[in-house]
């Protein structure tokens, strides 16, 4: 089976897919990619539907390929080197046996994704390949990658399997944006008027306590009307909990499934990805939008996904010939269409 060697893992590189669903009622967090748009695009660019990808954090890994592969790198903006030469992000790339891929520290954003055509040969745990670090399960032996690990890719590829695909520039996310759109509730009525306006008008900074589970923010104290505790209930991804100290916490991929703190608002799905790309020290603001607008934005993504799938029939490799017909010189380009 095709292999790749992890020469340098980077500080936190894990295998993630869309997440582990169906077990939240048993207290099982979903885990899964933090920036789901970048994750999804990476897979689509290499022609996968949903496969486990590598999610790296700030410093990308250095990988040596022992077989040909087709990959795509998306997410945080970094210099991506193939055998020391820059290659582009947000597009599919053919990798030859012996190539070395290295991803330098991110310049914008925090998390990057590398998808491999046909995915990793790893077992699914409870229906998913996502690593959930707190219970040591899923992904690669339930842990983050370490130097010297060897990953197996499901199928061998040749040039014939390669289709050039890229995400249009207009669709690429801008991780320097810091306006986070939210839908108020479900417990916005537990806060004072001044608490609500501080939340919507204040500036918040990502604290050092920011990980895959959630981001604690520093900022103006958001006051409750009458205490921060509620009877424990389910927590949706992107929920913004405010505990008694008035500091918000945005609940992310590895969040616990239930909790007993008031939730002032919920980050809209498309902006959860942007939150996930923020690092400690980064600033953010919240803007209230309505449910319909948020759902419209979410549905728009399907169009972007479709546009990449359509590139399936794109023209690929070309060969150039100079031929003579009836004494007239013609330059001919021959291309192969791969479905």
């Amino acid at each position: 089976m095709p292999k790749l060697l992890v020469q340098d893992s980077g500080p936190l590189t894990t295998v993630q897919d869309r997440g582990r669903f169906g077990y939240q009622k048993f207290g099982m967090p979903t885990a899964g990619a933090m920036d789901k748009f970048s994750y999804k695009i990476a897979n689509l660019l290499v022609g996968n539907k949903e496969e486990g990808v590598l999610e790296y954090t700030y410093n990308g890994p250095k990988l040596k390929f022992e077989q040909d592969a087709i990959i795509a790198v998306t997410g945080a903006k970094s210099e991506v080197k193939l055998n020391g030469k820059n290659i582009k992000m947000w597009q599919s790339q053919y990798i030859k046996k012996g190539d070395i891929l290295q991803i330098l520290p991110s310049q914008k954003g925090l998390r990057g994704y590398i998808a491999f055509k046909s995915g990793f040969n790893l077992p699914e745990t409870m229906g998913s390949k996502s690593t959930y670090l707190r219970a040591d399960l899923g992904g690669y032996e339930g842990r983050k990658l370490e130097n010297g690990d060897v990953l197996e890719i499901n199928n061998e590829v040749t040039k014939k399997n390669y289709t050039f695909k890229s995400l249009e520039k207009a669709y690429r996310p801008d991780f320097s944006k810091n306006k986070i759109r939210v839908i108020m509730g479900p417990q916005d009525d537990y806060f004072t008027k001044s608490g609500i306006s501080k939340f919507l008008e204040g500036e918040f900074k990502v604290s050092n306590q920011a990980d895959r589970m959630g981001y604690r923010l520093e900022g103006p104290k958001i006051e409750h009307e009458d205490g921060a505790d509620i009877i424990s209930e389910g927590i949706a991804e992107g929920s913004i909990q405010v505990a008694g100290n008035g500091k918000p916490i945005i609940m992310l991929a590895d969040r616990q499934t239930t909790g007993g703190y008031t939730k002032i608002a919920t980050v809209i799905t498309v902006d959860i990805d942007l939150v996930s790309q923020k690092k400690p020290g980064d600033l953010m603001f919240f803007e209230k939008i309505d449910l319909k607008s948020a759902q419209k934005l979410l549905n728009k993504r399907k169009e972007i996904y479709k546009s990449i799938k359509k590139q399936n029939r794109e023209l690929t490799d070309s060969k150039h010939y100079n031929i003579k017909i009836n004494g007239e010189k013609h330059e001919v380009e021959l291309r192969e269409i791969i479905q």
């Binding site: 077990y23 939240q24 967090p29 479900p186 009877i231 389910g234 929920s239 939730k263």
Partner: protein, 236 residues
């Protein structure tokens, strides 16, 4: 039955029942949960039932919120006709005291009881599982006797073995995975409340009852060995 719907982001709806922790309210949650599950509404992805609420996760591209609420209301209004199965009672074999439950002495002393009395009281009732949460497979149960209520440790332990049975205030519970924690440990069960390589991975679900049963150390080891055989499927 009164329920309220609250928006919890663009892909989740919170269904709220009367805001209190009580078996009768939790029973309404369970009924509604089973009714929704049974109906298999297109676009509904997952349900997280809790003490007095259900968080419903849905795909807005497949169903709108208003359509969803309409369907939920229909279900709610016909709930009385809906035939629900009886809750399961799951027996939790437990070794009490000694190295399995190092705080049993303290719990007895704190409540002016003998160790045997604590065990008897703890294992006597069946406890309603209101919900799961906190860590994979952690059960929030209710109904423990106040006679054995004991405050948490001042300083939590760094590592508690999975299967440990503890008391915190007037709550009792079981640690499903090795984790830090501050509960007073009175015993341990050899059962795996959570095993990702088993189908189903979780032993207990919301709405079930659990009942502790005192067993000997020998029995504990015997059950543990049997479980280990099942565990080997992992590497098969």
């Amino acid at each position: 039955m009164q329920i309220k719907y609250k928006v919890a982001g663009d892909s989740a709806l919170l269904i709220e029942f009367e805001n209190k922790i009580a078996p009768e309210i939790n029973n309404e949650v369970r009924k509604m949960y089973l009714a929704i599950k049974n109906k298999e509404i297109c676009g509904v992805e997952e349900l997280i039932p809790a003490y007095c609420s259900i968080l419903l996760l849905y795909k807005p591209i497949e169903i709108t919120k208003s359509k969803l609420v309409e369907k939920l209301n229909t279900l709610k209004n016909n709930l009385e006709k809906f035939n629900i199965e009886k809750p399961d009672v799951i027996e939790i074999p437990t070794v009490y005291g000694g190295e399995y439950g190092p705080d049993l002495d303290y719990v007895a002393e704190y409540n002016n009881l003998s160790k045997n009395e604590v065990i008897e009281i703890h294992a006597q009732r069946k406890y309603l599982v209101y919900m799961l949460g906190f860590t994979p497979g952690f059960v929030y149960v209710g109904g423990m006797s106040e006679k054995i209520a004991t405050p948490r440790l001042d300083k939590p332990r760094e590592k508690i073995n999975k299967g440990s049975v503890g008391i915190a205030g007037s709550q009792t519970g079981i640690y499903p995975i090795d984790s830090p924690g501050g509960w007073r440990l009175i015993g341990r069960t050899p059962l795996n409340l959570f095993n990702p390589f088993r189908e189903p991975p979780f032993l207990v679900k919301a709405g079930d009852y659990i009942k502790f049963k005192k067993i000997s150390e020998d029995k504990f080891e015997k059950i543990k060995k049997e479980k280990a055989k099942i565990g080997r499927v992992k590497n098969a």
